[in-house]
Amino acid sequence: MTGYTVCTAVLLLGGVAPALAVASRGTPEERLIGLELVSSAAVLFMLVLSQAIGQSFYLSVPLVLAPLSFAGTLVFTRLLGRRGPS
């Protein structure tokens, strides 16, 4: 087991798993924070995973996920905002 494999496992268990737990409980705003945490941790997890298994084409997934999660989160912040008086 190489050092990068250990880093991948730590990132999955110590990063993605707690972020998923944060994203699955609380108010919608708190779950949105968890979703942002999941996105960041998942992107970094896949970066380290591609190095651990030596497959550089695995980088395509985080390359797409990073901008898409950014746009998606901004849409959620817009939709979850309280509406003003009409």
């Binding site: 050092g3 880093c7 990132l11 972020a19 944060v22 945490l37 970094l44 980088l59």
Partner: protein, 100 residues
């Protein structure tokens, strides 16, 4: 030598991300939780990106990794600001009227 430096940087980044995620799970206040989002994209991501670049050397893969980390770095602060504004709006601390 290059392998050891790269692995040390990646391990440091992984540690930062893991501590931030576990911390976000443990704290109860939503603003504290939002505060713990920042180290993931502004410190952990760049450390992992630089570590992988040191390991791989200059090349297309390294540029791809640095681009991903740059997107994460820039978008992380924007998303944190937008979420902080959303929390303040829903708590009634700021107005949600459009600016004149």
């Amino acid at each position: 030598m290059r392998h050891d430096v790269g692995l040390a940087l990646v391990a440091a980044g992984v540690l930062v991300v893991a501590l931030a995620c576990v911390g976000a799970l443990l704290v109860r206040d939503r603003y504290d939780r939002l505060h713990l989002l920042s180290p993931t994209s502004s410190l952990g991501g760049p450390l992992i990106g630089v570590g992988l670049t040191v390991e791989l050397g200059v090349g297309f893969t390294s540029i791809e990794i640095l681009f991903i980390v740059l997107v994460l770095f820039v978008s992380g602060s924007v998303v944190s600001a937008a979420t902080g504004r959303l929390l303040a709006q829903n708590a009634g601390d700021v107005s949600n009227e459009p600016r004149a």
